[in-house]
C-alpha cells in the first residue's frame, strides 16, 4: 500500500504547488485566481466537446509519454518523440495516398504497421548510434527531430502529395479506407470533437508496456541496462541490443500518434499539427515517474492544462496561455523534490509508529 499511496500523495503535492504558484502569478496580474482555475476547468472538462478535445491531446501526450518512459528505463533520454511522431504521421499519409483503394480493415492494419515501423525506425537510428557508436542520444534525437520536420516540409510540396485545394502546408486527403472517422461511434458521442476511438490504444498500451517492462525477460534486460550497464553485461545480458530495442519500442509508441491524427482526426498530414507533443511527453513521463500505468492519468492532467490554456487568451485580459506552461513546469520541478518528501513522510511515520506492519 505504502508503495503506491506515498508517491501518489507527493505527486498530488507537486500538482498543488503548480496550481498555487499559478494562482499567485494570476493574482499579480490582477486576475482572480479562482476565476483562472475555473476557466481551465471549464475549458478542459466543461462539455462533451471540450472533454473530447482534451482526450485528443491526452492520447498524443500519453503515447509520447510512453515513448520517453520506455527509453528512460534503458537509461536513454529520448527527446526525439516529436520527430518520431512527425515521421510516422507523414509516412502513414504517404502510404495511404499511394494505395488508396484497399478495404477499411486492411487500411487500418496498414496504418498501424506503417505508423509503428516509421516511428521505430526513426528512433532506431538514434538507438543504433548510441549503442554501437557512442553517439549521445540527446544530440542525435534532436537532430533527427530537425531532419524529420525539414523532410516533411519538403515532401509535402511534391505534386504527388500536395493538397491543391488550398494553401495549407498539408497533403491531400486520404481515402475513406484510411480516414475512418465517419464510422467512429466515439466521435459522435463527443460531439464531433477531434478525439476518436484511437484513445483506447493508450489503455491497452499501459497494460502491455507494464507487463513487458516488469514481467518479461527482455523488459527486465532493458531495465537492468538502464540501472547498471556494466553489471548487466557481466551478467550475460546484451546492453547494446537492449538500448536499440528500447528505442525501437519508444519510437513505435510515439509513431502511434499518427493513428489518432490521420485515421481519426484529419485524414491527412498537416505540417506542424503537433504543438510539440513530443516535448510535453517528457513532462508527462516525469510526472508518471516512467510508470506505464501512471501515464494515462498524467497525460490527461496535462491535456486539461493544455486545453484550458487556449481559453486563457480569450477569456482574460492580462493572462495568456503561457500561464498553463508555467503551471506544467512548476509541477515537473516539484516532482524532483518528491523523493525527499517521501523519505521525510516515511521517517515521520516510523517515528510515530504508524503503519508499523510492513
Amino acid at each position: 500500500m505504502k508503495k503506491i499511496l506515498l508517491p501518489l500523495f507527493s505527486t498530488f503535492i507537486s500538482l498543488l504547488m503548480g496550481l498555487l504558484l499559478g494562482s499567485v502569478i494570476a493574482a499579480f496580474a490582477d486576475e482572480n485566481p479562482l476565476h483562472i482555475l475555473q476557466i481551465i476547468w471549464n475549458s478542459g472538462l466543461g462539455s462533451k466537446y471540450d472533454l473530447g478535445t482534451t482526450l485528443y491531446y491526452a492520447n498524443a501526450l500519453a503515447l509520447t509519454g510512453y515513448s520517453v518512459a520506455v527509453a528512460f528505463h534503458a537509461g536513454l533520454f529520448n527527446i526525439g518523440a516529436e520527430g518520431q511522431l512527425n515521421m510516422a504521421t507523414l509516412m502513414v499519409a504517404i502510404v495511404g495516398l499511394t494505395f488508396p483503394s484497399v478495404s477499411p480493415f486492411l487500411g487500418i492494419i496498414i496504418s498501424f504497421s506503417v505508423a509503428m515501423m516509421a516511428g521505430a525506425l526513426w528512433a532506431g537510428i538514434a538507438g543504433l548510434l548510441k549503442a554501437y557508436r557512442g553517439g549521445h542520444e540527446v544530440i542525435s534525437t534532436i537532430m533527427l527531430n530537425i531532419i524529420a520536420s525539414a523532410l516533411a516540409s519538403w515532401l509535402i510540396t511534391l505534386p504527388v502529395l500536395r493538397n491543391t485545394e488550398n494553401q495549407n502546408p498539408e497533403t491531400r486527403q486520404l481515402s475513406l479506407s484510411y480516414f475512418v472517422r465517419g464510422a467512429d461511434p466515439l466521435v459522435k458521442f463527443f460531439m464531433d470533437s477531434p478525439t476518436s476511438s484511437s484513445i483506447l490504444i493508450i489503455f491497452l498500451l499501459a497494460i502491455l508496456l507494464w507487463a513487458f517492462l516488469f514481467r518479461t525477460r527482455t523488459g527486465f534486460a532493458i531495465r537492468a541496462t538502464g540501472q547498471n550497464e556494466v553489471a548487466a553485461e557481466l551478467a550475460g545480458l546484451n546492453p547494446k541490443l537492449m538500448k536499440v530495442i528500447a528505442m525501437l519500442i519508444a519510437g513505435a509508441c510515439a509513431g502511434l500518434v499518427a493513428i489518432g491524427e490521420v485515421n481519426g482526426h484529419t485524414g491527412k498530414f498537416l505540417l506542424g499539427f503537433s504543438p510539440e507533443f513530443g516535448f510535453m511527453g517528457i513532462a508527462v513521463a516525469l510526472l508518471a515517474r516512467n510508470q506505464p500505468l501512471a501515464i494515462p492519468p498524467a497525460a490527461f492532467l496535462f491535456a486539461i492544462l493544455h486545453k484550458g490554456a487556449g481559453d486563457l487568451d480569450i477569456e482574460t485580459k492580462n493572462i495568456t496561455r503561457d500561464l498553463a506552461v508555467v503551471i506544467q513546469a512548476v509541477v515537473v520541478l516539484s516532482i524532483s523534490i518528491s523523493p525527499w518528501l517521501e523519505e521525510k513522510i516515511l521517517a515521520f511515520m516510523v517515528n510515530h509508529k504508524w503503519g508499523a506492519k510492513e
Binding site: K3, A224, N228, L234, G236, E343, L346, A347, N351
Partner: protein, 476 residues
Amino acid sequence: MLGVALELRKISKQFGQVLANHKVDLKVHVGSIHAIIGENGAGKSTAMKILCGFYHQDSGEIIVKEKKVRWPSPKEALASGIGMVYQHFMLAGTHTVFENIVLGTIDYPWSLIQKKEARLKIEKLSKYYGLALDLDVNVEKLSVGEQQRVEILKLLFRDTDILILDEPTAVLSPIEIESFFGQLRNLKNEGKTILLITHKLKEVKAIADKATIFRDGKTVAEITPADFSIEAMAELMVGRKLVGISDNRNNREEEKSSEVIISLPDFKVHAGEIVGIAGVEGNGQRTIIDQTLKLRTADSGMLPEKRLEEALMLGASLYENFLLTKWRQFSWWLSPKIIMPYVKEVLSRFDIRPLNANLIAKNFSGGNQQKFVVGRELWSLSRDLTKDNFKGPKFLLACQPTRGVDINAMEFIHQRILEQRDRGHGVLLVSSELDELLRLADRILVLYRGKIVKEFKRSEFNETKIGLAMAGGSSS
C-alpha cells in the same frame, strides 16, 4: 594521557526505517590512535560521518575541544580541525598531487605567491611526517598507497588535528600496510589524534591505543586493545561466541582430481581445487579475470571485484538484483509469485538484514550486499529430488570476495568458498589479502608485472616468500 579531543554523547540517527545509530557514546583523547571497530552496518561510518559534518544527528551532542558543536557541512568541521579520508578516495586523477592537495584552499588560483607558500608548507609537512611524495605527478599514476598519502597530506595541509580514516588498509599490500602504520605512529607522536575505522582486529591490536566497539548501531564497549585477545575483541564485536572455521583440508591434500574445470592460457583450475591469485593490485589480475570471463561456461558464478559497479543495480530491489544473474533459470515470463520465494530463500539462508527483498540494494550495508551477491551466485534451481538450491556453480570466480566486509560475513563467505571446493567444484580466487589466500587456496600463483612469476603448493606456503614474490623479489 592528554585531554579529551572529542566526545559524542548519545548520538542517534535514523535513515528511513533503519536506526543507524542509537545513543552512541564515544570519547577520544588527544594524541591517541583510537580504533572504531564493528561489523558492517554496525553504525561506525554513520557515527564518523556525523562527526565530520557529512550527516546530522537526530539527537545527542558533539563536543570538540570542550565546546558543543553542530556543523552545517564538512567544510566547517574541517575548519575546526576534523577531517576524514573516505574509503573511496576523493581525488582528481588527471591533476597533480600538488593541485589535489591545495584544491579549494587557494583564494586566487593565479596567485603565484600563494602557490609558492603552499608548496613550501606541503614540502615541510611531508618531510616532517615522513610522507614522501612527488608533488608534480598526476594522481592517477600513483599507487593506492601513495594516493592515500595524498589524502592524508590534504588534511594536514588544512591544519587538521583529528583525522578520521575509513578502512585505510583495505586496499594496501602487506608491505604498504607496514609503512602506513609507521606514518600513523609519526602522526600520533606529533600530537595528532587519529580515528581508525576498521574491522581488522590484528591491526587494531598492532596500532590502536583505545578501541570503541560498535554493534547494531550502539557502542557496546571501550577497551584497551593491548589487554584483549583478538578472539575476545571479535566476540564483543559480534555479540556471541565465534566458531572457528572447520577445514578438513589436511585429509584431502593429495587427492586432487584431474578433471579440468577451466583451462586458461597460463594455468588450469581442477575440480575440487581453489587456485589463488596473489599480487599487488594492477599486476595483471584484470587480464586473468577477462580471460576467465571469456572462457566461462553457463554453469559458473562470479563475485566481481567492485560489487557496487559490477555486481549490483543499486537503485533496484534485491528481487531484481537476484534476477540480474539468474534470469536464465526462469521462463520468459518473470512472475514474482514464483521467483520471490527463491529470493527470500537466499536472504534467510545467508542471513541478510533487513530481510526484505523489496528494499533497494543501496539501503543495505556493504557486508549484507556482499553476502547477497555470494548467495545469489551460489544459488541455482535444483533440477533433482534433493531440492537443494545451493549446490553452487561448477566454477566460481571470486575477486576480492571479502573486501570491505566484517569478520562475521568474512567467515561466512570463506566457509562457502571452501564448501564449493569440497563439493568437487573449482574456484579461482583473486585476492590482495594474503591471509585470505593462505587460508583458502590449495595453491597460489603470484602475479608480478602481468606475469605469473611463482607458484606455491599448499605445503610450500610461506608468508614472507609469497610477499617477496609479490614485490618482484626473486626468492630461491
